[in-house]
């Protein structure tokens, strides 16, 4: 495509807007009073246009999108203002008319893919339902279309995975299922709420391309909610900045990026981590923090801690293998296995951060879960703080788990829906009898504040939080026990840059103070670059490259690592029209037939501690 930014702008200006939101105000009933969480939002989206909503976590982005779709719980929420779709006021439609609009004219990608997928239906069925309920096509046709879509969203082995269930998918894959579902009906307007947070940059790029392609072909308008300024720069024509329920700034992306004048906008942009900003430095560094009200720098960048070089590792993993059997047929014979983790070895010392990066679905979460035996590993040895994890009896396993805490990738699913956030955070503390309930409460309140929530929120239930807020609750929970190791699975992916910076700094501070070790699983290469001492790159269940961060980032050796580095989006609106043409790659799948013997891998040492798999 050769359209320049200016060309697109002119076409948009003349077209009738697809969506026009005027004075949208949404309130929730909390404890008998109505609390406004979105105030007086007005914006419009034209065909082919992409409007991004960025903003602080919990500022009302998701609520705005749910208000447009009229999907908020009827009894505990209230929507005012007007939402017009091609001239029709959505808020005035009957339920049945609204139903016809949903999924047909507007479709939506939800933020938390785990809870948003129906756990008991195969994903194929869930996607084809979106087609079948609006279009008069046969089941077989729908299935064909779904398979195509799955291919397009880069789900490997789509044919076989059609009948699998959400819990068998990795976080990123679930998100891609959601995307496929939303795109299935070729809507006029796509609302995408953090559609790529759980995706690695290569796949993220491919998905973004896919969306652009559909925009070009079908004239689809997109309302894009994200924290990733790089993505914003790359896809959006116009940008709305939200802050605590208000749209504080609206304008073309270019304007916002270069001429934003609200202090929050400036704070947001200056905090955006840029890949390469750490070049030449060996240790992690904290983010600079800018005060939102004044725009002044309140905390300068600080050098992160050195891992104590002589210490024994607190976590060491040797030849870890985890496979999920695939059974089929009448006798449910084992016909193959997902080789989710294959022969993985690494170790983490106290005070050290090892980042695990890699393609979505390559086995990162499974590695994390295998370490704490939440998923039973197939073979290998795991040692945590002197415990031989795979040999532990239940009681010791429990004790061991105190020293190693997890932040789950899907924070909503990992919170008990019937337990208030405060209790959820206090619980491990009370459980291990580390102090009185009052102490637990104080500590939890303190942690709430430190992850950027207010202590008052402790009495709320998980569904009353935004995605990012829930993620912070999960982080607070993992810190409650003062563990020695934290496995942070996409712990900051749903946070806006300012909070992300704050939380990362918190993690670094804790590391400095308590010699914490982190296994940091993330897709956000910029954050990885900042926080880690060492980096391991996974591909199809195996570690293909591992080494000191500096070595891996500045001197990537493995082709996949190289591809990853190059795919990172750069927060510069000038690069909007860039297309990567990554779609041509073959998608590889970790599913192997029964009896498959994985090849013996050789590693080559590039520099000290920098190992690369030899193909």
């Amino acid at each position: 495509m050769t359209n320049t930014v200016e060309d697109t702008m002119t076409t948009i200006a003349t077209a009738e807007p697809v969506l026009q939101v005027e004075g949208l105000t949404t309130s929730f009933r909390v404890g008998g009073t109505w609390r406004k969480v979105v105030r007086d939002m007005s914006f419009s989206v034209a065909p082919r246009e992409t409007v991004a909503i960025v903003g602080e976590s919990g500022s009302g982005k998701s609520v705005t999108s749910l208000s447009i779709m009229r999907l908020l719980p009827k009894y505990s929420s209230r929507i005012e203002g007007s939402v017009r779709l091609g001239g029709r006021d959505l808020l005035a439609l009957s339920d049945e008319e609204m139903r016809k609009v949903r999924g047909n004219d507007i479709s939506m990608i939800f933020q938390e893919p785990m809870t948003s997928l129906n756990p008991i239906f195969p994903i194929g069925k869930q996607i084809s339902e979106a087609i079948l309920c609006h279009r008069d096509v046969s089941k077989a046709e729908a299935k064909r279309e779904v398979l195509q879509l799955l291919d397009k969203v880069r789900i490997p082995n789509a044919m076989n995975r059609f009948d699998e269930f959400p819990h068998q998918f990795s976080g990123g894959m679930r998100q891609r299922v959601m995307i496929a579902m939303a795109l299935a009906s070729r809507p006029k307007l796509l609302i995408a709420d953090e559609p790529t947070t759980a995706l690695d940059v290569t796949i993220q790029g491919q998905i973004l391309d896919l969306i652009k392609e559909l925009q070009d072909e079908e004239g689809m308008a997109v309302l894009f909610i994200t924290h990733d300024m790089g993505v914003v720069a790359e896809v959006s024509d116009r940008t709305i900045v939200m802050f605590r329920g208000d749209a504080v700034e609206t304008g073309t992306t270019d304007d916002i990026f270069h001429r934003g004048n609200h202090p929050y906008t400036r704070a947001l942009l200056s905090a955006v981590p840029r890949l390469g900003s750490m070049n030449g430095r060996e240790n992690p560094a904290s983010f600079p923090i800018i005060d939102i009200a004044s725009g002044a720098l309140t905390r300068a960048e600080e050098e992160g801690p050195d891992p104590a070089p002589h210490d024994q590792p607190v976590l060491s993993v040797q030849n870890l293998v985890t496979r999920f059997d695939i059974r089929s047929g009448l006798f449910s014979r084992r016909t193959g296995a997902v080789h989710a983790v294959e022969n993985v070895s690494f170790s983490v010392k106290p005070g050290e951060t090892l980042s695990l990066v890699g393609e979505s679905g390559c086995g990162k979460s499974t590695t994390g879960r295998s370490i704490t035996r939440l998923v039973e590993p197939t073979s290998g040895t795991i040692e945590v703080d002197g415990y031989n994890v795979r040999q532990l009896d239940p009681a010791t396993l429990r004790k061991m788990r105190r020293t190693i805490q997890m932040v789950f990738q899907d924070p909503f699913a990992s919170l008990d829906p019937r337990m208030t956030a405060g209790r959820a955070v206090m619980e491990p503390f009370i459980e291990h009898k580390l102090g009185s309930t009052a102490r637990a409460r104080d500590k939890a309140a303190d942690l709430f504040e430190r992850v950027g929530l207010s202590a008052e929120m402790m009495d709320r239930y998980p569904h009353e939080f935004s995605g990012g807020q829930r993620q912070r609750i999960a982080i607070a929970r993992s810190l409650m026990l003062d563990p020695k190791v934290i496995i942070a699975d996409e712990a900051v992916s749903a946070l806006d840059v300012s909070i992300k910076a704050q939380v990362c700094n918190l993690l670094l501070d804790l590391q400095k103070d308590f010699n914490l070790a982190y296994l940091f699983i993330s897709h956000d290469m910029a954050v990885v670059e900042r926080v880690s001492h060492r980096v391991a790159v996974m591909y199809l269940g195996e570690i293909v490259e591992i080494g000191p961060r500096q070595a891996v980032f500045e001197n990537p050796q493995h082709p996949y690592t190289k591809k990853l580095m190059s795919a990172v989006p750069v927060p510069d609106p000038a690069r909007r029209s860039l297309r990567r043409d990554l779609m041509t790659d073959e998608i590889l799948s970790p599913v192997r037939p029964a009896g498959y013997v994985p090849p013996q891998r050789q590693y080559r040492e590039v520099s000290e501690g920098h190992l690369v798999q030899v193909e």
């Binding site: 139903r99 016809k100 948003s116 129906n118 756990p119 339902e129």
Partner: protein, 336 residues
């Protein structure tokens, strides 16, 4: 799943043997006496003779083994023989004989089957068919008039015992209005329209009483379970897809809510075969329930043992079916 089912089926055999032994021991221990309802004018010596003719004077274990042999070997052979017409071995093998009627227990059960299925089975079917929509709607429109009335009626239906509702209905509809007969005619054979009408008429009251009871029970579980799932995020997703509200409820929410419902239903199906004792008694349906209660009251051990064993078999079977269904309903539940 298949291996699991197979394993469970194999494991069911010792389970059932064990259960049958416990039941036998229990029945033997019970103070009830098969001669309890004989006139007091029959002298003790004669009673002693009757007792020994029944084999009651043999040791407990021998009697149990004898029952096992009769039930598991002789009866199946007889059935086979009846079906194929080929004589296998001695055609005069000893069958399980009821003490009270001195006739083969299996014949009695076969005789009682039709009315039990007609009345109890049908009302269970109606119960399930009614309960699901009622439960779904009550949950969907929680605290609406429909829900309130449904709750009220089902609680009354459940809490007022059938021995009362039955009599009430008979007084109103049989005695006062003369619309329906109060006595069920088990000899009625449906062969034409008028006999069909007669059958429907005589079934109406007992089926009504039982359906009310079954519906009440099941619909409460459907409602509660639906309420648990109605507010889940995936429901929101389904709506966002533009799925029809009916589909959202009946496919997405209901399927997710089915586990307790399947449990209740699976627990209920075997009870069809144990009959509805009181209702059968009131309307004189004389199905399996009445057979069982008369047998228990008459301490007719072979009959009670056989009936309860069949019942136990059904329980084990339907609980197995429920377990398999769990796995099908919720793929996260796996047994292997």
């Amino acid at each position: 799943m298949f291996t699991y089912t197979l394993r469970r089926l194999l494991f069911a055999i010792p389970t059932l043997l064990f259960i049958s032994f416990i039941i036998f021991a229990l029945l033997d221990l019970a103070p009830s006496d098969p001669l309890g309802d004989l006139p007091l004018t029959i002298p003790p010596e004669v009673r002693e003779q009757i007792r020994s003719a029944m084999g009651l004077d043999q040791p407990f274990f021998i009697r149990y083994l004898l029952w096992l042999q009769q039930f598991f070997i002789n009866e199946p052979l007889n059935v086979l023989q009846d079906m194929t017409g080929i004589a296998i071995g001695d055609p005069h093998r000893l069958r399980v004989l009821s003490w009270a009627t001195r006739s083969p227990v299996v014949d009695l059960i076969v005789q009682r089957m039709p009315q039990t299925l007609w009345v109890v089975g049908l009302s269970y079917l109606f119960g399930v068919l009614l309960a699901i929509p009622i439960g779904v709607v009550s949950a969907y429109k929680q605290y609406s008039i429909f829900d309130q009335i449904g709750t009220f009626v089902s609680m009354i239906g459940y809490s007022v015992p059938t021995f009362f509702t039955g009599v009430l209905l008979i007084v109103i509809f049989s005695a006062k209005l003369n619309w329906f007969p109060s006595v069920y005619d088990t000899n009625l054979v449906v062969h034409d329209w008028s006999s069909f009408v007669a059958q429907v008429r005589q079934m109406f009251l007992p089926v009504l009483v039982l359906t009310l009871y079954n519906t009440s029970q099941i619909s409460r579980f459907v409602r509660a379970s639906m309420l648990d799932n109605l507010h889940m995020d995936y429901v929101r997703t389904a709506r966002a897809k533009g799925v029809k509200e009916k589909t959202v409820l009946l496919v997405h929410v209901l399927r997710n809510s089915l586990i307790p419902v399947v449990t209740v239903i699976a627990l209920g199906v075997p009870t069809i075969f144990s009959g509805a004792i009181i209702t059968e008694q009131i309307f004189r349906v004389n199905g399996l329930g009445q057979l069982l209660i008369v047998a228990i009251q008459g301490a007719d051990l072979p009959l009670v043992q056989t009936l309860t064993f069949i019942f136990a078999f059904l329980i084990v079977l339907f609980n197995l079916i429920a377990d398999v269904l769990y796995g099908i309903l919720d793929p996260r539940i796996r047994y292997d």
